[in-house]
């Protein structure tokens, strides 16, 4: 028991809000996400005693499974985790049920309603329900309609619906989908998930900015010269070619994850810490954001696609050689762009966003580069003084780093840059929960703070509309530049910054 690998005083001590008795209904329960993320997240919440005893999971999909088959399938997929906590799983699995449901069949929804009432009586779940649409995006709208028609979303206090990404393919389709789901349920019942917001370090951007007095006074155009937001992956397209071919990096990463990070980094302080106040500020800043050159968007965006690379010992295929990918594909696996935010705080500050697959490192970070000191009083060891930088590391090695100049040891008065760091591992030493654990708990608590609101989603799509239209209508103006796998993207991306005399940070 006294192993000090974890803090023994921390065990079982989570100071979390209490989730009310309820049934979570997962549509698409036979799919990948259910056994990889959703049920493991629910089991983790159960183990942490954050779920009440009056709790049930109802899996729904077209396959004609029984309750027992559903439990077995989940147990097989989570065998490793369950082996460590067999007793807990046995208890948890008693609250797992399955109902074959096709959301397009109205009689199936009637049957579902009856089954939910039975579960309410059996597990005392109080008619409180969270519906999770882990289905193909084309069924989001019809799924909501079916739930509403069956009266399952009628009580706004005790029913919620979680919708996976992508929420739309562009501004028009996102608007249309919003209209459909808002006709079925109140906005307070709709939870549009972006799993990046479940990350501890993404949430920490809010705390860092608004719980400390030292950052906010300098968090503006007067002190910040530019901001870079990077989300780099080392993996290729893996088994997602079918989805990725029709989406690409812009839709897969930028419109949602990077844009949410941008919003949290640039929003105004909310008047209070509640969902509406925060989402109001995020929506406002996204509405003020624009491409650096909307009339000639090709001037402020670079697309790339990884080609083969790696080493002789471990060669890596190019994107077009990946299984399931069109050999002539023009889908981007890398995108970099320059944005501005037209408001008092950020006018004139360039924001550089980039994301890509098969880059040399897996990392996500926000780098705020401060303006240089007005006068250089000292010689710098590196030739010129390095501007101050605040680096928020989202993954891996979560934490923050501040770069500043100090006197280099010796008889002269030369300056050199040093780092002051904060690491989650060093300070807290406990692994953070997987993003889905936090997000599922929030949805079940009815707290939408970390979910995106309709106007945020639409503002995010609208921001990239000139690029999406260009790719659709005149793709030759925004060609995909090949880059060697495990390099930092196409050389053309460097030109986005070159005008300002800047370079991408090499982490």
């Amino acid at each position: 028991m006294t192993t000090l690998l974890t803090n023994p005083l921390r065990v079982g001590l989570r100071q979390e809000r209490v989730i009310s008795p309820q049934c979570i209904v997962i549509f698409g329960a036979s799919g990948d996400l259910t056994h990889r993320k959703l049920v493991p997240a629910l089991f983790e919440l159960f183990r942490q005693r954050r779920l009440p005893s009056e709790f049930a999971v109802l899996g729904c999909a077209r396959r004609p499974w029984s309750d027992e088959e559903f439990r077995l399938k989940m147990a097989e997929a989570m065998a490793e985790t369950i082996a460590e906590h067999p007793g807990a799983w046995e208890q948890f699995a008693q609250g797992m049920f399955y109902e074959p449901v096709d959301l397009q069949q109205s009689d199936h929804l009637v049957r579902l309603g009856t089954r939910l009432e039975t579960i309410d009586r059996l597990r005392a779940t109080r008619g409180n329900r969270t519906f999770y649409l882990s289905v193909s995006p084309e069924f989001y709208g019809s799924g909501c309609r079916a739930l509403a028609a069956a009266g399952l979303l009628a009580d706004p206090e005790r029913s919620r619906v979680v919708i996976e990404k992508p929420f739309g393919r562009d501004y028009g389709s996102a608007q249309a989908l919003n209209k459909v789901v808002q006709a079925c349920a109140k906005e307070s019942q709709i939870f549009r998930i972006d799993h990046y917001l479940g990350k501890e370090t993404v949430q920490n951007i809010l705390v860092l900015r608004f719980a400390n007095t030292i950052f906010e006074p300098i968090w503006n155009r007067n002190y910040i010269a530019n901001v870079q937001i990077t989300a780099a992956e080392t993996v290729g397209v893996e088994e997602r070619a079918g989805y990725y071919e029709s989406s690409g990096a812009l839709r897969d990463m930028v419109q949602n994850h990077l844009t949410q990070i941008l919003a949290l980094t640039t929003m105004e302080p909310p008047g209070r810490f509640d969902a509406e106040a925060i989402r109001n500020e995020k929506a406002k800043v996204l509405q003020a954001a624009r491409l650096a050159n909307e009339l000639e968007p090709w001037q402020c965006c670079v697309r790339g696609q990884y080609s083969s690379g790696g080493t002789a010992a471990r060669p890596l295929s190019g994107y077009r050689d990946e299984p399931g990918v069109n050999p002539n594909s023009t889908t981007e696996t890398y995108v970099a762009m320059k944005l501005f935010i037209d408001n008092w705080r950020w006018q004139g500050v360039p924001f550089y966003l980039r994301t890509g697959k098969r880059l040399p490192k897996r990392l996500s970070e926000v780098v705020l580069t401060f303006r240089e000191a007005p006068v250089h009083l000292f010689d710098a060891a590196g030739g010129a003084p390095t501007p101050n930088q605040l680096i928020l590391r989202i993954q891996p090695d979560e934490g923050a780093e501040f770069k500043f100049e100090v006197k280099a040891p010796g008889s002269g008065m030369r300056s050199r840059p040093v780092d002051m760091g904060f690491s989650y591992d060093d300070s807290f030493g406990e692994p953070s929960d997987e993003g889905y654990v936090r997000l599922l708990a929030d949805a079940m608590l009815g707290d939408p703070t970390l979910y995106t609101r309709s106007d945020e989603v639409e503002a995010a799509w609208r921001l990239y509309t000139p690029l999406l239209e260009l790719i659709e209508e005149a793709p030759w103006q925004l060609p995909v530049h090949p880059y060697e796998a495990r390099t930092w993207g196409p050389a053309a991306a460097d030109n986005l910054l070159a005008d300002e005399g800047l370079i991408w940070r090499r982490p």
Binding site: T2, N7, G12, L13, Q15, P21, A124, T125
Partner: protein, 436 residues
Amino acid sequence: MSAQLTLQAPLDVPPAEVTPYLDRLWNGMLEGSSGAATFTLLVWEPSWLEQQLVRVGLIDGPIRGFDRSDLMTAARQALSDCGLPLSTAPMDPRLAWALGQKPGHQSSADLRGQVVESAISAHMPRRLITLAPTLDAGMPLETMVAAYCPLPEEGGTGAVCGDAVVLRGGMGAIQQNLDLIKPLVGDDLPCWVWWNSSLDEPLDMLEALATLPRRLVIDTSLGSPRRCLDVLVARIEAGQAVNDLNWLRLRSWRESLAMVFDPPSRRDALAHVVQLDIDVEGDHPVKGLLLAAWIADRLGWHLIASRPIPADSGSSSESGGIAAEFERTDGVSVRFRLMPVPMGMPKAHPGAIVGLRLICEPMGRPQLCVILCSESGGCMRLESGGMAALELAEELVPLPEEHEEMEMARLLSGGHDSTNPLLASAAPLAARILPD
């Protein structure tokens, strides 16, 4: 009920008619409203302090059965009138008893069970049963029934209605009519039994109400320490889901101490603790013992012996402290002292923690002294004693003053059918540390 629409004024119904009346109500008058599929809350609500304060004229009625600000103010004033030490917590059952010795005949309306804290009613109990014993032990039993549904603007539908039943009368009358309770508590919904009183009260009533698998809520700060811990341990060992409000009030202390050892660089020190000191308000050690037992259990310490520390003749406290010796997993001894500290303005409940000191002697590294201090009290006693050479980690522990109703609402919002494993491990150890 606050935030609820009562469909009818609370209706006096003869005791024998309560169950048939409720059946008629749900099957006839409220047809279509199947009742909330939530839980039953059964509350033992004597409110002796409030009743006595009203009787002697220190507060006005009506008697409501939950914390009110004027009740705390009046109770603090009454302490000196009753000759009790200033360190006595206003909720200490000794105050209600002392007030009972004073003359007074003021009467007031009694709304116990009819007015409910909105934090609790927001969870829409299917049935709220309140047992309200009166000061007049010979008073016959009165039973009242009311049905309610949420207001439409609260988003309510007909399927979440509930009812409230009040059994009020002298202790004897309530005891004679306890068989009324069983048919009122259905088997199909979880039932919580909230013993909102001292654990020194007759145990047969507690045993009659808190039968398995009902979930029990008690407060081990109310009652004699030995009795409190024995009841807690017995109930846990019987397999009941027990929630102790006194334990729940420890959460900021446990969180603050865990926080000190979150940085991995400090963790090693936890394996080298040599001394633990806890100061508590007044002379009720249970909360301090639960805290010590939790630490000992988490760090794998084995209790060797414990003994009372005689009261210091110079101390204003009536009783002394408790000393104990533990053995770490590596065989090294850990010294524990729990000391009562007199306070001018104690917290509402007896035995609140004032401060904690943990001294660690890691091999080949400087000694570490961790001091946690209540934000409302000083911990000069713990800060004294030649610790200049030690690495000091000192934190202030925030102590939000939450009413029982808020704690109860937190439990009702998502409870468990088993006792929290940390409490289940700490309680028996705390009982063993308390010297006989």
